[in-house]
């Protein structure tokens, strides 16, 4: 059974992101006005995609921490739960590979090693996630000087769709990796 976090991502987040797709398709006006509006929507789409994915990762982390400590006797359960979530990077930072690795490694799992081991294509997806987060920062801070952006200041909505597909795949991969890991530690399904 998937986590609540994954179900939220596949329902609520999908609906919100689909509304951006609809808005992008509905833009009218002169060609130049249309181009400008579509670029603004595409940039907002990047930021929204990142924020929705951040929420998914945060919720998965919370659910995993709760599952990991739910069988522990009181008051140790709440002590451990608090320790697993205190000062979490996903509460204030982007869902980049570094922050994800830092937060999920609290469970005692080499997170990205496990994710890459689970599916060899996840190494490429990890790089894509890094790229998405770089673009998110460039847009949010209006600073496009990062060398990896290669001087680009505009984002193509087709690229955003690729990033979205990567996030959709990684969400399922993260859910599976964490569930399998917790099951091995707990000896039962965590949720």
């Amino acid at each position: 059974m998937p986590s609540r976090a994954l179900r939220h991502w596949q329902t609520r987040s999908r609906k919100v992101l689909d509304e951006f797709e609809a808005a992008h398709a509905l833009v009218g006006g002169t060609p130049s006005a249309r181009r400008f509006a579509r670029q603004q929507i595409a940039q907002a789409y990047v930021v929204l995609l990142c924020s929705q994915f951040q929420r998914f990762c945060r919720e998965l982390h919370t659910e995993a921490a709760d599952g990991l400590t739910s069988g522990v006797r009181a008051p140790l359960d709440e002590i451990f739960f608090k320790a697993l979530t205190v000062g979490r990077k996903l509460d204030v930072g982007n869902p980049g590979p570094g922050n994800l690795g830092s937060d999920f490694s609290r469970f005692g799992i080499p997170f990205w090693d496990e994710v890459r081991l689970h599916n060899l294509r996840n190494e490429e997806r990890q790089r894509t996630l890094e790229q998405l987060n770089r673009w998110r920062n460039a847009i949010a801070h209006q600073d496009f000087t990062h060398p990896a952006l290669a001087g680009d200041e505009e984002v193509d909505v087709r690229q955003v769709r690729k990033w979205r597909r990567t996030c959709e795949t990684l969400a399922v991969e993260f859910d599976t990796v964490i569930r399998l890991y917790l099951r091995s530690v707990l000896g039962r399904a965590p949720w």
Partner: protein, 71 residues
Amino acid sequence: MARRKILRPGDEFRVGDRVRYPLPRGVLEAVIVRDDGDIGVNGRRMLLLRGLTEYMEDTFMSPAEILLPAN
């Protein structure tokens, strides 16, 4: 006819409320900074708190059901 939701312990808390987080010895004063809803195992409601003492200013998650209202 709309069904009235059965209130659980902690359902009365809202973002911005000051609460007491019970520790094995004493309590930690904290403020609720985010409500993540019923995302815990078995639908436990989860809140993000920020400690209000000089010893604990970081944020951390807590189930709503264990919190106490501030004095």
